[in-house]
Assembly symmetry: C3
Homo-oligomer: 430 residues x 3
Amino acid sequence: MTTRLIPFIRDRAVGQSLPAPFYVDQEFFDLDLDEIFSKRWLFVAAEAEIAEPGDYVTITFGTRSVIVTRDDAGRVRAHHNVCRHRGARLLTESGGSTGTIVCSYHSWTYGMDGRLLYADAQAPGFQKSCYSLRSVHVRTIAGLVFICLAAEPPTDIDEVAEIVEPYLRPHGLAGAKVAKQTDLVEDGNWKLAMENNRECYHCDGHPELLNVFFPTWGYSDNEAIPGRLRPVFARYRQATAELIEIWDRHGLPYPRIEQLDTRTTGFHIEREAMDLAGESFTLDGTIACTRLLGDFGEKRLGRLSMHMQPNMWLHVTSDHALLFSVIPIAPDKTLVRTTWLVHADAVEGVDYDLDRLTSVWDITNQQDADLVALAQQGISSPAYIPGPYGPSEFQVEAFINWYITALRANLAIPAAPITPTLITDTAETA
Amino acid sequence: MTTRLIPFIRDRAVGQSLPAPFYVDQEFFDLDLDEIFSKRWLFVAAEAEIAEPGDYVTITFGTRSVIVTRDDAGRVRAHHNVCRHRGARLLTESGGSTGTIVCSYHSWTYGMDGRLLYADAQAPGFQKSCYSLRSVHVRTIAGLVFICLAAEPPTDIDEVAEIVEPYLRPHGLAGAKVAKQTDLVEDGNWKLAMENNRECYHCDGHPELLNVFFPTWGYSDNEAIPGRLRPVFARYRQATAELIEIWDRHGLPYPRIEQLDTRTTGFHIEREAMDLAGESFTLDGTIACTRLLGDFGEKRLGRLSMHMQPNMWLHVTSDHALLFSVIPIAPDKTLVRTTWLVHADAVEGVDYDLDRLTSVWDITNQQDADLVALAQQGISSPAYIPGPYGPSEFQVEAFINWYITALRANLAIPAAPITPTLITDTAETA
Amino acid sequence: MTTRLIPFIRDRAVGQSLPAPFYVDQEFFDLDLDEIFSKRWLFVAAEAEIAEPGDYVTITFGTRSVIVTRDDAGRVRAHHNVCRHRGARLLTESGGSTGTIVCSYHSWTYGMDGRLLYADAQAPGFQKSCYSLRSVHVRTIAGLVFICLAAEPPTDIDEVAEIVEPYLRPHGLAGAKVAKQTDLVEDGNWKLAMENNRECYHCDGHPELLNVFFPTWGYSDNEAIPGRLRPVFARYRQATAELIEIWDRHGLPYPRIEQLDTRTTGFHIEREAMDLAGESFTLDGTIACTRLLGDFGEKRLGRLSMHMQPNMWLHVTSDHALLFSVIPIAPDKTLVRTTWLVHADAVEGVDYDLDRLTSVWDITNQQDADLVALAQQGISSPAYIPGPYGPSEFQVEAFINWYITALRANLAIPAAPITPTLITDTAETA
């Protein structure tokens, strides 16, 4: 990293969006990959994607391709997707199933546990045991697979798991199946994709989602809410009261836990009511899959929502789960992957119509991609200056806090003494 | 800017094309955007493109997108196309008409004068007046709109306006209408696009244009003219004598004023005769639009031509005006925008056939684009060395003088003492 | 060159693939063009491509475009493809025939010997003789054309020519004709394309080629050969014995000469037997062209194979010759050009079927391109660490030796003292 980046990290002004270089500069992008995506836990897949031994997915962060697989003993493993001979990429598909990992170049062959099993025509004294695939730390939490590329991953993942597992486990994600997975490339920096997800201030741009998603999310009391949203807020309070009764009846934990910028593995989890029928992400709020997740007979559970820094959020309703991962491609390109899970026994065309199950978020994702692209374009202008976050954007602020804190910690950059921010804008309208 | 660029600016050799880095290097491209395109007056549109209040065009120099609009009071205004909240681009179309400027992201809403009118759900104490759009200096001259991105624009624009307005105003461009606008992306540096326009030494590559455009342009007397051009030169002198009589009769100023490299806002203006019928840029030289510009009944006016550094040239004949703007995209990519204006009352299909009106310059532009691409390719070779300008390329030299002078002034780089240029070319043909 | 590249060149570990920056870094790519491709002899064409005076080919190394032509006196010449006026590229086609070289921009006109013949409308005193095209050193060897972009090319090309001409000349390549030429862009660094060609350890990926190409190439004795290849090795020894008799009968030199990393113009030449009918690169090994090259009546000559650093290899059988050149485009893009030569009198459709002549190497080239792309992808990961070359990859090692030696010599970088390489891989499989 060149030293010119340091002042930006040291002097970040609280309460405002970040300066442009964080979003547009190749060096900051490289820094994000090295310091955030190589040193924090990343959500990479659902266990449902690698249900059987030999199943694998590959996932690429920048130039780092990783194989996530289930070994013959049923354990989830992760290895760098790089042959130990002359470095060829090993598995080229995004996923599949295989007995061994064979390099296409010179047929070096590895077990699903990463051990080199076979290398043709080597000199006497060649030690196969020296050429195992380089392993990557991996951790599952209630059916979700996380990796960490660092040699020494953050250890607080265990505490986080302990907190979130009681929320997640009743929904049986580990035994679910993938109904659909989409990859959407957004024309914006990965942080803009994350920021966009952390507030509903922009939710007027999501008319389909707003049938069931209360746009009052992020408002803490009735007084701060715009007049036009007060009827919605009343419905939200009524629905919440009804849901608390249901959650209590089923013994489901629901309090909001907000540790987005107060720990290394920042996260947030909560249960929330939904509008209309309150069951699922459909236009009328009724379930989209008649075979419900877990062991509930209860259709109306609202949504369980969780965020984890730096690259994940999810929603679980009674009938399906929606998992999102954010994968940086370039300073101005980000892959957003969406995975819909339903019960393993649910049958497409019988228990659910795929289009009805996925259409609301397919549309919502595209709307978000368009907004992220506009933000990237505007921020790229030298005329951009950081603007103020409003009260309902507090989780955007928390994301930025977490991000800046991570960079400062990794790079041993102290914060500048906090002084009131005075933006001198000399280019006022005449 | 890194210091490695300085010697190139300091040591520029007079009478020769520039060294390769000026045309191929990303750092020089960034420098051009920062020091030329952000600090000089730029031609951006015809007033005819924003005839009514609420009409707007957007124009982008590098990453700087600017909204040029007419406010409710009829004044032309320019603002950066960047929301003051989280920086989203506001207007995404190249032009249109609107009552207010609404950000797609969080609905912050601005008046056409740039004032923030509305921002939802802000904390108490939020001051709308602090978040007007950042304004850009704007100036109209006889129906042409210029902006300057600098905080303190060059002041000599007033002197230039005073000189050129008597030439331009009789043609009534402010009240004209747009017949057609084309955007052509040339595969070459913006300076090559400008240089190409500043000489007719290459005009053999424009057979269609040469029906009416005298290729003797740039030759100052009969002796220096190649033999094959002497008959043309005789026609040119004859036509000029006839035109002077016409111009005098209508009280149209016509003397050539050449201040291309002698002031900050370098320009050139002149009237010239044209060949054949001498009326318009058509294959036989007769008018393409029967409803003439301004208040003349006179079809044969030759052409009024004007250049302005760094990014504009234009031609006006009795029946239409042709405006050209040059917009850098990348070191090797440049947008050339061509706008055809006709009288506001002219009716397509009745007073003019659009194809006949525009075909000569459509073809000529493409020919120029091909030549600029060849220049870019060759200059990119390490084998390229600057070559000598011939006598008829004196306006290319003037453009380069202006450019180098601007960089030296902005960057406080003194010129090297002038010494005779000795190019030692050791790679002579064996 | 920035100093950060130096340690990589100085500390290169013997017996291993190169560290990633050599393959993925733009600065190393630029260095390769400046220090390897601008200072060593490069194979650019067959003389058959420029058989007649006025014939030319253009070839581009990075931004360096070169015209290779035959002048009116029948001599092969090479010049930079850059006009001496304002630098435009002169010839835009990959090949053709012309009487003079005329710049499209301002019609400056050069002879095929590079002399400026004509420049319109120049000031008195303009010296045409000062503006010849910049020449490039050129050398033909038995029908193959080599250029060197350096002012002072390596002089050992004469020694190399003296050694290889007796091998090549009997096949009459200078009088052959081009049957087909293909350009394949591989998604990998040029060194990976070269390395890939320097070993047959990967030949299981070439099932079509292996019908006639002994995959035992690179194994020095029976003991080191994998068991599955022993029957093939027996056939190879039998075929070799038979071929030696044939080569001796025709007075064809055949001993392997291996000077790949022991001289500036590193090369390798040898004759080898081929499997099945042993005549040509066809699926059954029989000739693909009934009009044989040179003056032999003998169909079964095996293959004459030659490599030359940094960018060429070739194979000659009794009926055709296959020439390969490697042309860097970007750190991760390389053009591999393949040229098939047959006797000048051979008639397509009569003496040879083009598809049968070329299909084996068309397929093989694509297979190699796929492998090179995998190598590039894997090496781009930060998880890549150099791996060990096996015994049969000794020519890959020789290529890397040559390359590192060239960089060290050109840049005056001493080698680090050789110490045993200990790769500490802390990321072992758990």
